[in-house]
Structures are given as structure tokens and as C-alpha cells.
């Protein structure tokens, strides 16, 4: 459909769901391994274990990963708590060395049978007093709720932090799967203000991870990870600073000002940043020379915002691939309805997606730039920016970097299938 015909931020009817073979986004195994020196134990049925165990195998993390398979008899007998306690104990006793932390993943079944996980963790902590345990969840049944399994996983990633006195001029960035790109102005501001920024992506060992508990501010850059920041604010009294990735200049300005005020940071020359951003986008528009662009929701948390930015700078965006849009996208949604009414919106999981031709790029002689793996898959292009979940970009400098990447990828072809079928892109470095 075109955006002018889209009635709301959830324009597509739900139904049976297709799954495109674009596997770059991280799953809970990838995310869980960000805690250094941790071990994961998944307690699920065989069908649920299969995906996570092979995720671990593909990322060469089998030595940090174990499973307990639920069978029908465990559900009928009601011995689930015993199965988990005995199973985790057996695993830990046989590991060459006790891990510093263990993430025990329960599944939908445990919620439905009322498994007493509090009792389970109480017992495990008694048996292994030197190991930190945390509860993690593989509960896709909650995927359509407000607190999604992914958001919950990002929250639990920091649940192992022990409360300590807070240090001044130290901050964490929370919930991101990549560090900020080195040129982002928020990093420059922090450095100039004498702040030290911690990020789980840069923690080499468990001690370093635990130092995150001492930071006085947590920076969160996307809605899906807000709950992680909120939980830390409640539990460790760390101040939450929400600076979402945005492509609207006025929103970026407001965020940078908020960061400056909250942490006492010097504010960069915003006008200069805006002018440089405009210049970068103008350069990209010229370089693309009318080459159409498609964007997907895995590439950026604000696909409509990005579409609006590019269109307003003379770059032709033809399709946005997403199944729904967040509330924060509403201003961009309305702007696009008015200024780019023919922009196509395409679902990614709708049942018809299996049958639609994946050759849109052919209409442009193969010259179509996809931003995101799903956009590349559905359009059939070979010009492809492999961007996932903002790829560490933030603020004006993030846009400038993005513009440069677009030019680079528009100018070269890639072997798309071999890239997008890799699970958890970038997880293994």
C-alpha cells in the first residue's frame, strides 16, 4: 500500500506470518552473551531449543551454552522445578570452571504451568553461592505485549549488576548492541565534559561489567530498551537519560541540550552540525543521482523518520518495509502522508510476502539501494547497506556517517544472500 492509504501506524492486517531469510538481527542468545564470563542454560522443548543451540553453535559459543530439554512427562508430573535445579546443578558441576554468572532461560511452558522460578533460583543460589544467577526468558508468546521478550532480555542483561556507591561523571549506554560510532557528538560531548562512558559491548570481563553498576547516568537510545534504563533507575538509582536515535533536527537538538543540561556537558555548535549534515545529504543525493532507496525496520528504529529525512533532502525513497511503526514515528508518518503520499509501505511477515516477486530492483536496472537486510531481500538488489538497529549511529554525526555509507554502498555490489543469512550479524566481531 502507499502511505496515503495507510490508516494508522499498524497498517497491515495480522494473520499467518512469513519469515524472510534475513537473519542479521540478534536474538536472545546473542544478546545474552554480552555479559562476559557468563553461561546460558535454556530450559525448553526440543523445538524451541533447536534455534538457540544452533545460534550458539554458529557463533562458536557452545562452551558458554547448555540446555535442558523439557519432555511431556515433566509437564504431566509437575517436576519442573526439580528438573531445572538438578539440570543446572549437573551442568555447572561438569563445567571445567564455574562461570561468574548464569542466565537461566525459562520458556512459555513455565509461565503456563506456574513453575515456581523464585524457588528454583533460591535453591540454585544456595547450592552455588559464588555464582550470580539471573532469570531470562524465551517467551515468544509475549511478543505482542507491550513488554516484549526482546525488551525483557535487554533489561535482564543488567540484572546481574550488584548495587555499589555511584561515581560522578560516569555514564553507561544501555541496551545497544553496538557501541556509539566514534564520531557521534554525544561521545565528543562526554569526553569534553570529562565523563567516562561504559558500554557492555566494551566490557572484557565480568569485573568490568560490574563497574557499570557504579555509573551515575544511563543513556538509552531506543524505545525498546527503555525498560532496561527504568529498571536500573529503580534498582541502582542511576539516572535515566533517554536520547532516542532520531532523524528530525529539532528532536536531535532537544536531546543534545538535555544531555548537556543533565550532565553539565558543553553543547556543540548545533547550527554548524546541521549545515554539515545538510551538505552531506546533498552530496549523497548527487552521488545517488536518482537511485531509489528502500528502508527496513531492522536497519533503524525510526524507518519513517529516515525516509522523511532522505526525501526532504532530495533522495528518492520508494518503499519502507515494516509491519508496524512506533508511536514516536507518528510525526514522520503524518509528514510523509502529506509530502510523499506515494511512498510504499510493505509488510515483511504478511502471508503474501512469500508469493510476491522479489525483483523490484530490476525495474531500475538493478540500481536500487537497500538500507537493511530485509529491504535487500525483498527488492532483490545487490546494492545494500548492511545496517542493523542503527549500527551505533546517533545524532547529526550519525546521519553524516550514514550518508557516506549510502554513497559507498550505492557504488558497489554485494553478495546479498551470503551476508543476510548470517545470524546475529556482527555478534562475533
Amino acid at each position: 500500500m502507499t502511505i496515503k492509504d495507510a490508516g494508522s501506524l499498524t497498517p497491515f492486517e495480522s494473520g499467518v506470518e512469513y519469515s524472510a531469510p534475513a537473519r542479521g538481527p540478534w536474538n536472545i542468545v546473542h544478546v545474552g552473551t554480552l555479559v562476559p564470563e557468563s553461561h546460558q542454560v535454556f530450559v525448553c522443548a526440543q523445538s524451541c531449543l533447536r534455534g538457540v543451540v544452533l545460534t550458539a553453535a554458529e557463533m562458536n559459543a557452545m562452551d558458554r551454552f547448555s540446555t535442558i530439554a523439557i519432555q511431556e512427562r515433566n509437564i504431566l508430573k509437575g517436576d519442573m522445578e526439580k528438573l531445572i535445579i538438578d539440570g543446572v546443578s549437573d551442568i555447572l558441576n561438569k563445567l571445567p570452571k564455574l562461570p561468574r554468572a548464569v542466565e537461566v532461560f525459562s520458556s512459555c511452558i513455565h509461565d503456563f504451568i506456574g513453575c515456581d522460578m523464585e524457588f528454583v533460583f533460591g535453591k540454585l543460589r544456595l547450592i552455588f553461592p559464588d555464582v550470580d544467577f539471573t532469570d531470562c526468558y524465551m517467551t515468544p508468546i509475549l511478543r505482542k505485549t507491550k513488554f516484549t521478550p526482546d525488551a525483557r532480555m535487554r533489561q535482564q542483561l543488567y540484572s546481574l549488576l550488584h548495587p555499589v556507591p555511584l561515581e560522578e561523571k560516569t555514564a553507561n549506554v544501555v541496551g545497544n548492541l553496538e557501541p556509539f560510532y566514534e564520531t557521534c557528538e554525544i561521545l565528543s560531548m562526554l569526553r569534553q565534559g570529562g565523563w567516562h562512558l561504559r558500554d557492555i559491548n566494551n566490557c572484557g570481563d565480568y569485573e568490568e561489567y560490574q563497574k557499570m553498576a557504579a555509573s551515575s547516568v544511563n543513556i538509552v537510545t531506543q524505545t525498546g530498551t527503555l525498560s532496561a534504563g527504568e529498571a536500573l533507575e529503580r534498582r541502582l538509582k542511576q539516572k535515566l537519560l533517554y536520547l532516542p536515535v532520531s532523524y528530525r533536527y529539532e528532536e536531535i537538538d532537544a536531546e543534545l541540550k538535555l544531555a548537556a543540561e543533565t550532565m553539565g556537558l558543553p553543547l556543540p555548535d548545533l547550527q554548524d552540525l546541521k549545515e554539515r549534515t545538510d551538505q552531506a545529504l546533498a552530496h549523497t543525493a548527487k552521488a545517488l543521482a536518482g537511485m531509489p532507496v528502500a528502508i527496513d525496520f531492522n536497519a533503524t528504529t525510526r524507518p519513517l523518520g529516515l525516509a522523511r529525512l532522505l526525501i526532504s533532502h532530495g533522495i528518492q525513497v520508494i518503499t519502507v518495509y515494516a509491519d508496524s511503526f512506533g508511536k514516536e514515528e507518528e510525526p514522520d508518518f503524518l509528514w510523509l502522508k502529506e509530502h510523499a503520499p506515494e511512498l510504499k509501505l510493505s509488510a515483511t511477515v504478511h502471508g503474501k510476502m512469500v508469493a510476491l516477486p522479489r525483483n523490484e530492483a530490476e525495474q531500475y536496472g538493478g540500481k536500487l539501494l537497500a538500507i537493511g537486510q530485509k529491504a535487500a531481500y525483498f527488492t532483490g538488489t545487490r546494492h545494500f547497506l548492511n545496517m542493523l538497529e542503527n549500527s551505533g549511529l546517533h545524532g547529526y554525526e550519525g546521519i553524516i556517517r550514514l550518508a557516506r555509507w549510502m554513497e559507498e554502498e550505492a557504488a558497489r555490489e554485494q553478495d546479498v544472500p551470503s551476508i543476510i543469512q548470517v545470524k546475529g550479524w556482527g555478534c562475533c566481531g
Partner: protein
Amino acid sequence: MRQVSRVLSTYTADVSGVCSALYEMGGMVIMHDASGCNSTYNTHDEPRWYDMPSMVYVSGLSELEAVMGDDDKLLRDVERAAKELHPRFVAIAGTPIPMMMGTDFKGIARLLERRLGIPVFGFATNGTHSYVSGVGMALAQAAKKFCLPKEQLTGPGGIQKQIPAEKADGAQKPCVNLLGVTPLDFSVTGNVEALKEAFQSEGYQVKSCWAMGSDFDELIRAGEAHVNVAVTVSGIETAIALQEMYGTPWVLGLPTGRKLLRKVLEAVDRAAATGENQFPLAWDDGTYEAESRRLPPSEEKVQRENGQPDQSHRQTYIIGEWVWAMALRYSLMAEYGYDRVSVICPLESEELFADRLLEERRERIPGVLTAAAGAGAFLEDEDQIEERLKNAELVIADPIYRRVLPKGKVVDFIEFPHEGYSGRIYRREIPVLIGEQWNRWFEQKCK
């Protein structure tokens, strides 16, 4: 401890087995699940996903629907999708949560069948069993539902079940169906093509292959074959179903290696001539015990003349799907003189294998039940496998099994990747295990 895997992987589950079996039949398959089963399936279990579109979906079951036991959304969504996409049939397969909800898959199938006017299957899989059961039930149900009645078949299988015995070794070779063929056991590395070629090059027409590389029209004429060859355990149920429908005898075995290829072909001839099922993986006395093996002296001589050190007395373990692991075992023992070869089948428990597939039909499958005692064991748990491998000197298995080799001991390991176990990770190294190609591969590995 049972059910615990400290370092090992897990096999593809039953629900993926259903999808894999029906993938090429033009139907719509819905995994009744919240999410996850579909991405697992098309990432790790389905090598055809990128290049061969098929209508395999997840229902997107939500918490509220599960708690309320609400099947209406499933019915609505499937009905709408089927009306839009016009599949040949619909199949719905269960996962753990529908098992908890007590979803009535047969009832849903009946209801949808009435509404849609096309065949609808309801498979009460629950994600706690391996793909072997899922593939088995899906292929068998498809055969029962779609295969044409005898009256509509023009070939000899429909009207005349057996070809005359005198012709079995003559110019006219029996036609066969190959049953239990999915990428989960054979991947997409040339095994299916080699399997068909193994029969066709010897004059045996392959009427259909269930279910890779055969058109739907070929599949539904399966009754025209003289003999069905179940090349995996997953093919047994279909073989039994087709025998009940057409009286077609069946052979259980995979033609791995030169000698077993000949033996399987002879078994096909014999089945066609006598109408009796054949089990070429067993020795001549009908058992699988190592002691029953009689290695012809000439082959031992060949081995010595090749100048290779005699490694045939090594305690050898083959881990994998029962039929192809047994076929490898046969080849090692009958062609290479190995005398201590055991199969470990982790795919189903011994009880399940026996109960579900064999026990109830014991009279039809002589000898198979002795397999556990005579040829190896059904071991699902990591501890059991690790314990069993303590005396291993050679292991042929998926590379992931390296992780449970005994410590502090030199054990030869031949990597034999299995798509249904390690998924796509080692796909490029999956060998062709049919006929002489297996011999060449094995001999290369032994150098």
C-alpha cells in the same frame, strides 16, 4: 543427567519435520506457535527456503489466545490466507503451547476442510519429539489423502501388485518409490539426485520420491510402483500406508556403498517377486548382530593388497538416523572388514521407536527390534552417549559430537555432518552417501 545437554546440540523437532516433508507439495503449512519455530525452521532446518518459496507460516499465537483457548483467530487467519493464496491443501502442526492448551487439531482440520473445500491436515506435534516422527506422520497422511485409488492407476502397481518373478532379474526391473527423503537427512548436496540415479542407472524406474524433487502428480501415482523403498525411519509409516492401500511390498534400507547398493537392489527384486517386505540392512540370517557377519576372504585380501594398515578391529561408533547409520555400518563391516561397529541413534528413544513405529506392527518388521541389542543403541542423552563412547577408537558422526569424545585418549573421528543435527553449519561438508560415492568418500577420509 537425562535431558541435559551440556555441550551437545539438539535434533530438528517434529513440527519442522512436518514442514520439511510437505515442503514441495504445493500446500500451506502453518506451525501453530507464537514465534520462533518458523525462523528456526527456515534458518536451520530448511535449506530450500531462500531459493524455493513454499507457503510455510507461523500462526503467531498470542498469550491471550492461549489463555482463553481461542482457536477462532487461527481459523480466520488460515481461512483468509488459503483463500488468497490458493494452496493445494492446508496442514497445521502443533508446538508446545497448543499441547498445553489441548488444541484439537483434528477438529480444526475438519472445520477448515468444510470451509475451504480442500484437504486439511491437523498434526498434533508438540515440539518434544524429533523430526523423524514429524516427517513420518506427514508423509504417511499425505499418501493416504492424495494417492490415487487403484482404479485410477494405469501402471502395473495399481492393478497388478507384483511383477512376475521370472522378470525380476530380466529386462523389466521393478518401479520404485523412495520414501522418507527430506533435507534433514540428505541435505541438498547431491544425495537425492545420487539416490535416484542409483536406481535408474540399474534400470529401476523411480516413480516418485517422497518428498524431494517429485511433482505432485508423480507423488499421487505412487501406487503404480512395484516396491517402496523406505530410506529412513521416516519412510516406514508411508510404506505401511501404501502397502495397506495397494499391497505394495517395501524395503527398508539405503544403498550406501557398492555392496549394499547391490543388496538393496536385490531386495527390491525379491520384494517385487514375492510381495514380501525386505530388510537388507540385516545379515543373511535376518539379524543385525555383528557375529552374524561373514566377511568374504576375497575382500580381506583386497584390503591387504591396498597396503592400508588394518584398522578394522577398531571399536567404531556411528551416530545418526537409524537407517543411514545402519547402512554405513553394513558397508563398513561387509566391505571393509570392520568387526566392531555400533550404531548410536539419538533421534528417538528406544521405547518410542519401538512403540510408535514398530512394536504395534512387529509381525511385519522381523529383525528390526533386535537392532538395539545387536547393532547399537537408542541413546538420547548426552551422558549416555559420552559414557558409551568411552571405549571408542573411531567415531563417525556430526562434528558437534567431537565434544563428547573421551578425554585423554586418541580417538579417530570422521566428520559426517547431519543437517537434522548441526543444520547449515557444515552443509558444504555433507558427503554423498549413496553407492560407490560413499566408498570413495570413506576411503579418502581413511587416508
